[in-house]
Structures are given as C-alpha cells and as structure tokens.
Symmetry: C2
Subunit: 220 residues, 2 copies
C-alpha cells in the first residue's frame, strides 16, 4: 500500500476532477438554456454518467482510507469533508442534468420572455461554486464565508424572478409551460447555490473545526 499522505493527495485530486466535471455540467446546462444550444444539453447528459461513476470511486477511496489507516483528527476531518462534498457535487450534477432537460423543453417553443434574470442568477451561482471549491483547495475560511454571504443574494434574485414568472403565466395561459420550465431552471440554480454553501460550511469545519450549519437556513 502506498503512503497515507500520498493516498490522501490522490483522494483530493479525484475530488477536484469531480468538481471540474460538475462545474462544466453547470456551465453547459446554463448555455443550453440561454443559447438554446442542444449540443450543450447533450454534453450534460453524457457528463452525468462520468459524474456518477466518479462519485462512487471517491466514496470507495475515502472509506478505504478510513478502513486501512488510522487517520489523526485533521486527516479524519479532511476525509469526512471529502465524503460530504462528494455527495453535494453529485447532486449539483443531477441539478445540471435537470436544467439541461428543461432546456430541451424550452427549445421547442419560441422565446416569449427574454431571460434577463437567468444569466444573472447563473453567473452568481457559478461564482459561488468556484469560490466554495477554491476555499476547499486553499483552506481559506474568508473565501468560504463569502460563499455563505452570497446565498442571500441568490435567494432574493430568485424570489424576484419567481414573481415575475408567475405574472407572466397569469397574462396568458400559453406562457405556462415555458414559465414552469424557467421556474425549474431558477430553482435548480438556487439549489446549486445551496449545495455550494454546504461545501463552504464543510470547509469551515475542516479548517477550524467549527460547525456553522443551520445558522442561516433557507428553504427553496
């Protein structure tokens, strides 16, 4: 068996490969919606199988490290954080796939409503994802806390967009399906933001042993 430190590095590298796949999936799903890009949506569907395989591989590697070694407190916290972040990343991949499905549905109808809000919300959410993962790599609690702070902005934007889409439905029943798809897209983005805050909380636990969960809970 290889040295523990080396195994732990391999585990971290795998998690970063996982996060790269998920970031691409989110980015492509947003392009599929905003640019009605069918090939971007298909890329997300193909990516999903890779993400699922990677999740299992990382979980198995983390459990093996726990089983075969006797990790000390800090390493143990790292392995537990990897297990948790891995779960969040896989869910984010699922949400990107759902967004890509909604994008396919949106491609079937002419755009009635310009999607001003969605690129805006998507940009903010993608920057949260990036910061949460950077905070993990750099073990940076300040960056992790900035992710927690952004979550409220995403919630506010989504609430505004929700009301706008409901009034858009009320104007004309023909808009309903399109509005429901757009509502699902913004909900998916908001849930991706929630998973980013979970990751940021895991980083704070990892760096300082602080449990910051459930201090500013939101519901989607």
């Amino acid at each position: 068996m290889r040295h523990f430190v080396e195994e732990l590095e391999t585990l971290k590298t795998s998690l970063l490969e996982m996060s790269a796949l998920v970031e691409v999936a989110i980015q492509r799903s947003v392009i599929a919606v905003t640019q009605k890009d069918r090939s971007a949506a298909e890329e997300v569907f193909l990516n999903e199988a890779k993400i699922n395989a990677k999740e299992i591989q990382i979980d198995d590697a983390a459990v093996s490290l726990l089983a075969l070694q006797q990790p000390m407190a800090a390493d143990l916290r790292l392995i537990v954080a990897v297990l948790k972040i891995n779960t969040d990343l896989e869910r984010m991949g699922d949400l990107a796939a759902n967004t890509a499905q909604r994008a396919m549905s949106l491609m079937e109808v002419p755009v009635i409503k310009p999607m001003i809000d969605i690129p805006h919300i998507a940009g903010l959410v993608q920057s949260m994802v990036r910061k949460a993962l950077d905070a993990f790599v750099q073990r940076d609690p300040v960056l992790a806390r900035s992710v927690l702070a952004s979550d409220d902005a995403v919630d506010s934007l989504r609430t505004a967009s929700y009301h706008e889409l409901v009034s858009f439905m009320e104007q004309d029943p023909q808009n309903i399906q399109q509005a429901l798809d757009l509502l699902a897209v913004t909900r998916n983005l908001e849930r991706i933001a929630d998973h980013s805050t979970n990751i940021a909380e895991d980083v704070l636990f990892l760096v300082k042993g602080i449990d910051v969960r459930h201090h500013a809970e939101t519901h989607s």
Copy 2:
C-alpha cells in the same frame, strides 16, 4: 470512554430518534396541506430546529467514533451509512418544512381543486420512508429493494399530477398560485421518496457491501 459496541448502539439510537422526528414532520406537513391545519404546519416549523440540532449531534458522534476507535470493516460501513442517512434525513426535514410553508399559502385561498392525488402520493412516500428505516434497523435487503421499486410508482403518480395541475392553471389564471403550491408539495414528496431510496441504497451497501447507486436514476 465507554465500550465501542455501546457507543455504536447509542449512535444507532440517535439516528432512530432523528428518523422519528423526520417521520412526524413529514406526516404533519401532509396533514397541514390536506386538512388545512395551521397548528400542524407550526409543529413542523418547531420540529425543524430539533432536527437540525440532532443532525449535528449525530455527525459529531459518528466522527468521534471514527477518530477515537479503529473500527473494523463492518462497523466502519455502519458509521459511514449513519453519516449518509443522517444527511438524507435532515434534507427530508427541510422538505417537510417547505411543504408546511406551502400549506400556509394554500390556507389563504378557497380550495378550487380537490387534492385527490396528494394524499395518495403522500401515503406511498410515507410508506417508503418507513420501509427504508425498517430495512436499516432490521438490515433487511429485501425490504430495501422494495423501496427502490416503489420510487418508479411515485414518479409516475407525480408526472400524472403535474399534467393535471398544468391544465388546471391553463383553465383559469386565478388558479396559478394554488397550482404552483400544489406542484411544490408533490415535488417535495417526490424528493422525500428520492431520499428514501438513498437510504435503501445505503442499507444494501451496509448489509452486503454492494453499491447499487446510479442504476435507475431519476430526475425531479
């Protein structure tokens, strides 16, 4: 420090207390919707703080057990399963709270549409939750597999209900808010069912070391 076996029993007991809180939250949230029962909704909101506190307590206990002991393969799988099931239960509690919020919104308007489907879907989902947790307690792979099988039925029921609610919106714009609330309730129930299948998969991993994830993935 107490004996490892004793600590492990305490951990399992805490998880069952957590699952009891979550099952009550789901049940009360369904009653809040179907019977327009405000006190049931309020009970769910109060319950949520307890569920969140319990999640942290269980996580900490599981990590301590990993840190202070050197668990063998089977015990290690149990502790990892507890960590994962704990996360799923907390999310189920969040979904119940969201359903209770939707119930409050639904109470403000007269019932236009009878909620024939919701008690039906809710009954099926609650039975999945129960079976998944029983499968964990009894380490019963047959029961765990029956949970996986039920998930397709919930998806089918929800799809039918989705189309019905969309046509209900299209009939009259005044129905839109109510239909959106009901859509959210059925989506929450479907996501609770998904978390039950996660738990059932963890039971199969625990009992047999089999990883059954991503064999019949669905998207909400």
